[in-house]
Amino acid sequence: MRGVVVGMVALLASGCAPADTATPSTLTPLSGPRLARRLSIDLRGVLPTTSELDEVEAHPEDINALREQWLADPRFEERITQMYQERWRTAIDSFHATVQDYGLSHDEDYSFNRSVGEEPLRLVAHVVATDRSYADIVTADWTMANPMLASLWPLDYPAGATGWQVSRYTDQRPAVGVLATNGLWWRYNSPLFNENRQRAAAIFDLLVCRDVLSRPVILSTGLSISDSSTTDAIQNEPTCLACHSSIEPVAATLFGFTPFDDQSNFELQTYHPERENMGSTILNVTPAWMGHPVSGLEELGAAIADDPRFVDCAVQTATEGLLRRQTDDSDVELLRQAREPFVNNGLHLKDVIRLVTQAPAYTVGSFATGASQATIDRETTSRMLVASQLRSIDTDLAGLDWNYQGWDQLDNDTHGFRVLGGSVDGVTLTAPQRTPGLTWTMTFQRAGEESAGLIVDRDLADGATADLLVGATSATTPADAAFTTAVSAAWWRLLAERPSTSDVSGLASLWQSVVDAGGTPRDAWTAVVAVLLRDPDFVSY
């Protein structure tokens, strides 16, 4: 009896997998190592180490402990930044204020634009990674800044620090987290005539997942361009009120960010407290959040934090980021289950991530007999890597540093291959690519070829201890047992699968083919690693 009880307690402690009312029995999970690979990519942006794969292969239940380790990994914060970029889309390649405005050289274009665009994302990521209440993203009196931003904006960045640090604006802007960041409002700008309506729409979209801009604007017979009431239509015309009754009161709280010149860096970088009350006058509304009056932006942040839809949206955003698809009615139960610990434990988004990454919808690798077509079409049994993920993986594996005139080529669209490699550009492409295409394939090819070269040069250098090609030296050929050891180790590490004998011999044939074609052993080894970095099981997860 005691043993049974202890066993059951152990089962509980390992985390009960949440139920999936959408026929969970038809969702077959990935193998332990492949699941670990998926989880590591999603939580850390890198592949599991060989020892981690070995551990999960031997003890699949150890993935729970690994999950906890990875949630605490410093790279988790970076991953959340990328996850939110795919949803908030602030990391664009140009803003109205430019490096030219600040007298900086064009070499700093990328650094400047990314710093600006990532500010709100890093605030969110820091809240999530440090187990703060998610409500802090709209109530915090701090932001995240790096030396670039600190040199340009009114920020009290820690003296002597480097990288992204908690900082505070010094221009009297209210304590409303991301709602007080230049990065968010430079991305979702609002020229004077727009009167902050676009920003209000962004608040609805990003924080409570209500895309008011997608509602149809039908200027029907009730509206006449001959009538002066046209200008009052947004307050009187039912067609307009459907959106504007919510938008205007929120927009009225944002006038401290209104620029009189929306191209001026001086106007854009500083909060303007004297303009706070303009909104009520110009828009002729009382500031409010969904019908409940607020006195200003700070109360708006608090009202949003108290809105159940804010919680729902956080859960939805994280869930969709992990499942790599939009949620729909079939996910209601999963979202409800993910919401419970989130709400009950102080709004720590890690609780949502913990639960979702245990759900069948996340762990699914294939379908059992009886899966409906709808299930087959919906569930992401496989996801393709996109440029932002490839960047972190190849940097970790190989030290890839693919840049052009200061632009990270897997993280920009101006000169590089972010969108061509399947990621989001923030303006036109609002979701990651979900099926491979030509440009994606070529992007992965170039990155893979270069990374392979870097790995080979590192691992097979004289006296080096190989990290990926374990046991191989520059003299190793397919005739050597060390070849099998090395390629098997690489296959395992990169694909989270054990290669078969034919898999190994296939790579051996490739190696030899390159040499026969006139290549050096280095060329041959590079080809072997390159094809692994382009393998269907590498580029998907």
Partner: protein, 428 residues
């Protein structure tokens, strides 16, 4: 790699096409639906139809251009003519028989990002595929560059594999030829074709195996699309020069698109026009700049049509018989000037269809007294101002259905039975 401008290539093209393709000048043949190709020219930012398409001089509540603009009708077209926009007159008078103007298209949003999606996909669904991609994926045989986006928006979800973006700086060409490898702190390794061939062969075999073993759903979609892309790579590599478009000049891009469409590599192409100095058409102040924007656009369109009409088609007499040019913008502009002498956003706009398969010499739709869209009877294209004869207010989805019909694809499958194609736009 030497840079060949699009203009150079087009001067050479007729002879090179004949030589390369081994074709003699064909007698005119009917262009079938399967042979249709499409070039989308997107005026980004929201143009003001009152400068060209909408001669609303009789509407006292519409601020028309204050230059010497006047209403002109010729060969079935009616437009706003001005000596400051001679290219508009030149285009309309020369290509009227191939041109249909559509007025009163209701996009039903006034937010740029949403309007772009509405225009290109017919809806706001984030997972919807745009018309060019649908057309490309509906081609009778697989095209490695089905839908080429030289510039401008593109929306695809399940058919992302059918879209090829050239990149803001035309960087796709550098990806293909490997020149993307240089200029950074690391010089990327680009294997020679000889040494790369074993890699490619191995990878192809792996991809084929993966596609064959893939389980249904996402795994199958991804592995199959990856295999297709790998199979397409050699053909695309040989077309690297065609995909290396230097600069952002819209005419260069249009002509590059023509080359891609005419040599069978693509079915659709998209080019964005950002107007004078690339300030976009979003004229919230000084709307008079639209005059220059339109003049530049139509000058390019004249050159484009000259090229299409002087270049033999693969099936039709000329490319102008095969390629349908869609010229549109994501929104219109409010009928009245604002305090900055500009015009703000408006949900109703105009567009133009030119060339292959289009019944030219007509203006379809119109603007009512409130600058809303006048209903149109889909079967005939006739206006139905009272809406009592089965007319519908045109939305982008109707244009999408029309284009799919023109391409021999089923619009019902794409948009359902409630969306009728505007058959009145199509030539018999």
């Amino acid at each position: 790699m030497p840079v060949i401008t699009r203009r150079d290539l087009m001067r050479l093209l007729p002879a090179s096409m004949l030589a390369g393709l081994g074709l003699s000048r064909l007698a005119r043949a009917d262009v079938g639906a399967n042979d249709r190709k499409f070039l989308f020219v997107f005026a980004q930012g929201g143009w003001d139809p009152t400068w060209v398409y909408a001669p609303e001089f009789d509407n006292q509540y519409v601020d028309m251009p204050t230059d010497d603009s006047q209403k002109v009708s010729q060969n079935g077209l009616t437009w706003v003519s001005s000596t400051t926009r001679p290219s508009v007159d030149a285009f309309m008078s020369t290509y009227a028989s191939r041109t249909a103007i559509v007025n009163g298209l209701e996009v039903r949003s006034i937010a740029h990002e949403r309007c772009r999606r509405l225009l290109f996909t017919g809806g706001t669904d984030a997972e919807a595929n745009d018309f060019p991609t649908r057309l490309a994926m509906g081609a009778p045989s697989h095209l490695p560059l089905g839908n080429v986006v030289l510039s401008g928006p593109s929306y695809s979800d399940s058919t992302a594999s059918g879209v090829v973006r050239v990149g803001e700086s035309g960087q796709l060409g550098t990806l293909i030829d490997g020149s993307c490898a240089t200029g950074g702190t690391q010089t990327l390794r680009v294997p020679s074709s000889t040494l790369g061939a074993p890699e490619d062969a191995y990878l192809l075999a792996r991809a084929q195996k993966a596609a064959g073993a893939a389980s249904a759903g996402a795994q199958s979609r991804i592995s199959q699309a990856y295999l297709t892309a790998l199979q397409d790579e050699p053909a695309v590599t040989s077309m690297a020069s065609l995909l290396t478009v230097n600069g952002q000049d819209p005419l260069d891009q249009m002509l590059a698109a023509v080359t891609l469409l005419s040599n069978g590599a693509s079915r659709c192409a998209t080019v964005a026009d950002l107007g004078l100095n690339r300030v976009t058409w979003d004229s919230h102040s000084q709307v008079s700049i639209q005059s220059t924007h339109f003049e530049l656009l139509f000058a390019n369109l004249v050159t484009l049509m000259q090229t299409l009409e002087s270049t033999p088609g693969t099936v039709g007499a000329t490319l102008a018989d095969e390629i349908t040019v869609v010229v549109w913008s994501e929104m219109g502009r409010y009928p009245q000037l604002n305090a900055s002498l500009g015009k703000d956003h408006w949900t109703t706009t105009s567009m133009m269809l030119v060339g292959g398969g289009i019944r030219g010499g007509q203006v379809i739709g119109g603007y009512d007294s409130n600058m809303g869209g006048v209903p149109v009877i889909p079967e005939t294209g006739a206006s139905d101002p009272d809406g009592t004869s089965g007319g519908v207010v045109l939305q982008p989805v109707h244009l999408g259905a029309t284009l799919l019909t023109l391409a021999g694809l089923d619009p019902v499958e794409a948009f359902g039975t409630d969306v009728a194609p505007i058959l009145g736009l199509l030539a018999q």
